[in-house]
């Protein structure tokens, strides 16, 4: 059960290939009404009915928050992932009826900021598409630094340059262009907030440098949806509901719990929001924690797990669920 969110019945109104890896999907409400309002940085969880299997993946809304006639998401194809992005690329066609969650924002702008400094890596550009549109409409002060592998994989780089000109700075890995991060972070006016979305390595690097250079934690915002990683199958006992389940190789623990008819709370399904946090009653084996929610101490304690992205290897695991 998704906490506090109801579902939206939508129809795919358009499917637009953007480049070799990324395709954009447009959704409208089936009843023709406007979609719920959202703010820049929000995501929706898209339900993918793939035969017997239902996948629920979060994607950032990338359209302007000022236009709620449609929601748009951009999906990067991941050929070695668990198949959600491949399903979107291969099976989703215009006219198809789908279900998405209400928007939820775990990466919102702090509008008290005097300036917004945004750092995007690769497909991490999507929440900034919405945030820059929101800020531009309000006359907000922002600057976007966007790193991509090559110019042809710089998803929406051309659109952003055209819209915002010199407020957007591009860096191409193949041309060996790198953000001069320390200089950038040391020259920002007091009252600037920092936003970073991209690969985990980039987020860790930026957070680490910002902390060393005296950026208070309250001014550093980041979002990284960890896609659930495939792994070895494992067995779990759900103590509260009295069920024993097996988590398949390509399935997340949360999905296996849901498939057994148990309905735990969730929101982001990407290890960020904390809703699905589950207590461990007993275990014999080791945890593979992939979330950004629990502290390192909690990870070591073996007393909690985020079933949306984390796995287990060992003889037995009993959860309070």
């Amino acid at each position: 059960m998704s906490t506090g969110t109801t579902k939206l019945d939508v129809v795919v109104s358009d499917v637009v290939p953007v480049n070799d890896l990324v395709t954009r999907f447009h959704f409208r409400r089936r009843d023709g009404e406007l979609l719920p309002t959202f703010s820049g940085g929000a995501h929706v969880v898209v339900e993918m009915r793939d035969g017997e299997r239902t996948r629920l993946n979060p994607y950032s809304l990338m359209g302007s928050p000022l236009d709620t006639r449609e929601y748009t998401i951009s999906v990067r194809r991941d050929d070695v992932g668990r198949g959600g992005s491949l399903f979107m690329h291969r099976n989703v066609k215009p006219g198809m009826e789908m279900v998405v969650s209400y928007p939820v924002n775990l990466f919102s702008l702090d509008l008290r900021a005097k300036k917004h400094l945004m750092l995007a890596g690769g497909i991490g550009i999507t929440p900034f598409m919405a945030q820059t549109a929101q800020l531009a409409a309000e006359g907000g002060n922002f600057e976007l630094h966007y790193t991509c592998r090559t110019a042809s994989l710089g998803t929406y780089a051309d659109v952003l340059r055209e819209r915002y000109d010199r407020r957007v700075r591009l860096y191409h890995d193949d041309l060996d262009e790198r953000i001069e991060l320390d200089r950038l972070l040391s020259t920002q006016p007091l009252g600037t907030h920092l936003y970073v979305c991209g690969p985990a390595g980039m987020i860790n690097w930026v957070r680490d440098r910002a902390a060393s250079l005296g950026w208070p934690a309250e001014t550093v915002h980041f979002e990284h949806f960890a896609a659930p990683q495939p792994g070895l199958p494992f067995d779990v006992t759900l103590a509260v509901s009295g069920k024993s389940i097996r988590v398949d190789e390509q399935q997340s623990l949360l999905e296996a719990i849901e498939a057994a008819g148990v309905d735990p709370p969730y929101l982001c399904r990407g290890g960020v929001c904390g809703q699905c946090e589950t207590n461990v009653i007993s275990c014999d084996g080791k945890f593979i924690h992939n979330d950004h929610w629990l502290s390192e101490e909690e990870h070591r304690s073996g007393k909690k797990i985020m079933p949306c992205v984390s796995r287990f290897e060992g003889r037995s695991l009993v959860l309070e669920r």
Partner: protein
């Protein structure tokens, strides 16, 4: 010590050295002692990038102790009002990486915090340590006038003369506690005045 009561009543911590490119200290009177104690826990060279702005108390003490820390800049001011233009200028030209440390009386911490909030520093990002007097800055909710250095409960508004209950309800935006008329129903009822904010 400031005692925790309702959520809006500020609580203060103990100054601790933060990572940063530049460190700005604002202190009055015994607040200097908080800085001197923090200095013992600071890494070598910490004060090379520090500026201390100090308002000495009536006894004029602690100036030498602060100068001995050899901050990059040391500035003395006779009152908060007199240092305000300089503080505003410093913050307007500052970059991310500046860390703010406030130490001393509640009135000083509150007023410096008010200016820093306007400059875009979150209140949770500032280091604070309360030292010295618990006298309060109070705003009368009726005439909106501010009375400084309130030590009694109830207290008389220096502007409209109403007798006010000094509440723990605090505003960071105006850097003052709220004062509400204590005998609005019957002005002839005058509760005894006690000195409690020393």
């Amino acid at each position: 010590m400031a005692v925790k009561s309702i959520i809006s009543r500020p609580v203060y911590g103990t100054l601790s050295p933060q990572p940063g490119k530049h460190h700005l200290f604002i202190a009055d009177a015994e607040g200097a002692l908080a800085i001197a104690e923090m200095a013992r826990r600071a890494p070598p060279g910490f004060f090379d990038d520090a500026e201390i702005v100090f308002i000495p108390g009536p006894d004029g003490k602690h100036v030498a102790a602060l100068e001995a820390l050899k901050p990059e800049q040391f500035h003395q001011a006779p009152s908060f009002a007199s240092l305000l233009p300089r503080l505003r200028q410093t913050l307007a030209n500052a970059h991310m990486g500046l860390r703010l440390y406030l130490a001393g009386t509640e009135g000083l911490i509150g007023q410096a915090m008010q200016v820093a909030l306007e400059a875009g520093i979150d209140h949770t990002s500032m280091q604070t340590e309360h030292r010295g007097s618990l006298a309060r800055r109070m705003q009368c909710v009726h005439c909106k006038g501010i009375t400084e250095n309130v030590t009694t409960q109830p207290a008389t508004c220096a502007h409209c003369g109403l007798l006010l209950l000094v509440r723990d309800h605090y505003s960071r935006r105006i850097a003052a506690f709220q004062g509400v008329c204590i005998n609005a129903e019957d002005r002839s009822e005058v509760p005894p005045m006690e000195e409690i904010f020393r």
